[in-house]
């Protein structure tokens, strides 16, 4: 029966080529615009650490004094941790793994001939960073907690930076002159850069940034390396020194495998805050301490710009108007076929059969519209990739989105066909046949 209906639909559509073309064009435009924006939103809110994100959490404390007023457009000082708090959480070892980190940009003086000095962006981190995030290594590995304690001048390079500095040769064991100090290369990571760079400070461009080197946080602090990202100070006197208790600048991530561990860690953060309050360091309620999961933290940061959001709504509004258009056209088309429908009804077709037949006709329009929409969406994504925005390069359609486009087109057109089909299968055959 299905093939017969398909054939009927094909014939019917070919009888009115202009109208069919209009409907396919309308659904193609609507689907193309919507899928372009849905794809952008999809890549922007995608899980940066598939398989690992459910175990990653970031603790946040509130060490601000009671009378502290946040500037309306300024960054949130409690988004980062102070040095004493980060070190306390690290020493407590309440998670399976934990690491503190901060971004930095250092001057690199290459020894290789023909390379001028340049600034390079990377991360200062504690030893567990690599195991915590599962950073893959091409050669060598990270450093130990003992190296952290000893301020060891060691560095892990990204594969891109290692190739730039040392060509195809083995970089491990070589020396890099970074931030006016010599560092021994102990590892080279494989190509690794989560999108977005969720563990970085939120003031950066997280969709295009990547870390090119990693070195011990303790070294960065003792050498007073420059820290990129937000540094919010609120005290007097020493508040702008990196180890001050009145300046937040560190990111902290912890691995918690079971719900019980998560609950225990949450309690630990409140207890820690209460203890600090008892000591007179914290002034605000200990329950201000928060523990975010990775995806929850990204949702909290809300990395999707308002403009992208607005563009998505605009595209969906466009799709909606296109669907109204198709409903009207299908209705006119189906109702005009009262005669044909009545003959089929008189020959024994049930209302349900007519409904299915017309539904298949709408779905066929949807498939054609979906193919057109896919082409339009690819064009739209291409134009987005030409923009200089930091998320632009990610605007690629993956297989689920590809199938989703076709599915959305078919669903939209079948939905649009529901009302017209329902109206059409309710025509009174006797009345129609009499007028024929």
């Amino acid at each position: 029966m299905f093939t017969y209906y398909l054939d009927l639909a094909r014939r019917s559509l070919r009888r009115t080529p202009v109208l069919t073309g209009l409907m396919v064009l309308a659904i193609g435009l609507g689907i193309g615009a919507s899928m372009t924006m849905l794809t952008v939103l999809h890549v922007m809110t995608d899980d940066p650490m598939p398989g690992r994100s459910a175990q990653l959490y970031t603790p946040h404390l509130d060490p601000l004094p009671l009378d502290h007023k946040r500037r309306g457009d300024g960054p949130d000082p409690t988004a980062d941790l102070t040095w004493p708090d980060a070190m306390a959480l690290l020493a407590a070892r309440r998670g399976v793994r934990q690491a503190a980190m901060a971004g930095g940009s250092l001057l690199l003086r290459p020894e290789r001939a023909g390379l001028r000095p340049f600034y390079v962006a990377g991360r200062y981190a504690t030893a567990d960073f690599f195991a915590l995030f599962g950073v893959p290594f091409e050669r060598g590995g990270g450093w130990s907690a003992a190296a952290d304690a000893a301020d060891a001048q060691v560095v892990v390079l990204s594969d891109a930076l290692a190739r730039k500095l040392f060509g195809a040769g083995n970089a491990v064991g070589q020396t890099v002159h970074l931030g006016e100090h010599d560092f021994r290369v102990i590892g080279v990571t494989a190509d690794w850069a989560p999108k977005p760079l969720f563990y970085a400070d939120q003031t950066g461009t997280q969709y295009s940034d990547a870390d090119l080197f990693f070195l011990p946080l303790s070294v960065a602090v003792s050498q007073k390396f420059q820290v990129s990202g937000n540094q919010s100070g609120w005290g007097k006197g020493d508040s702008m020194s990196l180890t001050s208790a009145n300046m937040s600048w560190l990111q902290f991530w912890v691995q918690l495998d079971t719900p019980a561990q998560v609950a225990a860690y949450r309690q630990y953060l409140v207890d820690y805050s209460a203890q600090q309050k008892a000591l007179g360091r914290f002034q605000r309620p200990p329950t201000n301490a928060k523990l975010y999961g990775l995806m929850g933290w990204l949702a909290h940061e809300n990395l999707v710009p308002n403009d992208v959001d607005l563009q998505l709504w605009l595209a969906l509004g466009f799709l909606f108007v296109c669907m109204l258009n198709i409903v009207a056209l299908l209705l006119a088309k189906f109702l005009r076929r009262g005669g044909e429908i009545s003959v089929r009804r008189a020959l024994g077709a049930r209302r349900r059969d007519i409904f299915v037949q017309l539904g298949i006709e709408s779905a066929l329009i949807g498939v054609a519209g979906g193919v057109l929409g896919l082409a339009i969406a690819q064009l739209g994504l291409w134009s987005i990739r030409q923009r200089p925005d930091d998320y632009a390069r990610l605007a690629q359609m993956d297989v689920p989105m590809l199938l989703g486009t076709l599915a959305l087109a078919v669903v939209a057109s079948v939905l649009a066909g529901l009302l017209p089909s329902w109206r059409a299968c309710r025509v009174a055959p006797a009345l129609q046949l009499k007028t024929m």
């Binding site: 000095p117 108007v321 009207a328």
Partner: protein, 410 residues
């Protein structure tokens, strides 16, 4: 033209007519709001900076030699830059230029009382103090940027400092009016923390490096302060067509003067590029908004034309009968035009209401201001015109149906 028969025909196609009305309504609502957003963005990107935009270019250099005498370095660099053919003047600033995003700002109070109030509140808000963007630079900044000095004077050579706070400042007219409403600002003393600064000059306009909101975007002040960090931005003024060449020559001249520096490729820009980069998202958005509005109007026009075409085909026989019993071509044409007018009018009436509702939604979620009411009649007119245009061709085809059709069976 009688409306009665049209209405009774439409009653037969109630559902289709309602759907078309809805489509027109939503198109009207979205297009009105989109047009308003486009107007807002165009207004935003055409804000004047107050400087000679098309004659300026900027090149940033950061020194990487330890213990270098930065003041001496700058003097030598400036001499080398001024020697480039085509460069009319050159100055060094720390990093701030209008719309280049690198802003430095601090709280400034018009009086001691306002300062005390701000200290008491632990906040600038509501104290009468403001937070202007501050610009610095070597002597000649005002002339090189092409700023309009409307009162007072430029800085004197002995007023410039390297480190520390200067004792005088030049402020913008907007800042002067905000700090000293109804009084001449020239000669007043502003409080910057515990020491005060005398206003010696007022410039017409100088936009901030990063825009906040229209009321404060013009609040800027200039210190007579030479840049003292290892990073410095040189601003060059030349004829507009010379700028690319001047930038290339400047890079070469700076590297020749001292190779111990980094000039990042992204930090050699004409001012036109700086401005374009700042508003890039807005220009993209304007393009997208216009494209989607045109797309909507296009689809709606197609819908109207498609449906009218269909109805003409369906009614060929009755048109023939009407023609046979005396209706003129004009009558048939007007029939379809009136029918379209009725549907579009219903859509527009609903659309105007929807436009206001949509605007209220956008106001709560995207900080969009209220839609000025005059957008609504313009949107309505546009849709009426669109409806009449799209129905014209099907209506003409209907008018061309010969009366003889009535005698044939369909």
């Amino acid at each position: 033209m009688q409306i009665r028969p049209i209405l009774s025909t439409l009653r037969h196609h109630k559902l289709t007519a309602i759907l078309l009305t809805l489509q027109v309504a939503f198109t009207c609502a979205i297009v009105c709001n989109v047009a308003f957003m486009v107007a807002k963005r165009v207004q935003r990107i055409s804000v004047p900076t107050g400087i000679a935009e098309n004659e300026l270019s900027a090149i940033s250099s950061s020194g990487i030699e330890k213990g270098e005498n930065m003041q001496a370095r700058q003097t030598a660099d400036l001499a080398a830059l001024r020697a480039i053919p085509g460069v009319r003047s050159a100055v060094a600033v720390s990093y701030s230029l209008p719309l280049n995003q690198s802003e430095s700002s601090s709280g400034i109070c018009p009086s001691k009382q306002a300062l005390d109030r701000a200290m008491q509140l632990n906040s600038i808000d509501g104290s009468g103090c403001v937070q202007p963007a501050s610009y610095d630079g070597t002597p000649g900044l005002i002339a090189t940027l092409g700023l309009q000095l409307v009162a007072g004077r430029d800085f004197l050579p002995d007023e410039y400092v390297g480190k520390g706070k200067p004792a005088v400042a030049i402020i913008t007219r907007a800042l002067a009016q905000k700090m000293y409403p109804g009084r001449p600002a020239l000669g007043q003393s502003m409080y910057d923390g515990d020491h005060f600064i005398r206003v010696v000059g007022i410039v017409d306009t100088l936009l901030r490096p990063a825009l906040r909101k229209p009321g404060v975007d013009g609040d800027s002040l200039i210190w007579p302060q030479r840049p003292d960090g290892s990073g410095v931005t040189y601003v060059l003024r030349s004829a507009p067509q010379d700028r690319q060449r001047v930038l290339k020559a400047a890079e070469a001249a700076l590297l020749q003067a001292s190779p111990n520096r980094i000039i990042a490729p992204g930090q050699m820009q004409t001012y036109t590029q700086i401005r374009r980069a700042y508003f890039q998202r807005d220009t993209t958005m304007i393009g997208l908004l216009i494209a989607s509005a045109l797309g909507l109007l296009f689809v709606t026009a197609l819908g109207i034309a498609g449906l009218a075409n269909f109805w003409v085909q369906q009614r060929t026989r009755s048109i023939g009968i009407r023609r046979a019993i005396g209706a003129t071509r004009g009558d048939i044409l007007h029939y379809f035009q009136t029918e379209n007018f009725l549907i579009v009018t219903a859509g527009v009436v609903l659309g105007v209401v929807l436009a206001v509702v949509l605007n209220l939604l956008l106001m709560t979620h995207y900080e969009l201001p209220r839609l000025p009411l005059w957008y609504l009649p313009i949107g309505a007119l546009a849709l009426w015109a669109l409806g009449q245009l799209s129905v014209l061709s099907p209506a003409l085809r209907a008018a061309a149906v010969p009366p003889v059709v009535a005698t044939r069976s369909v």
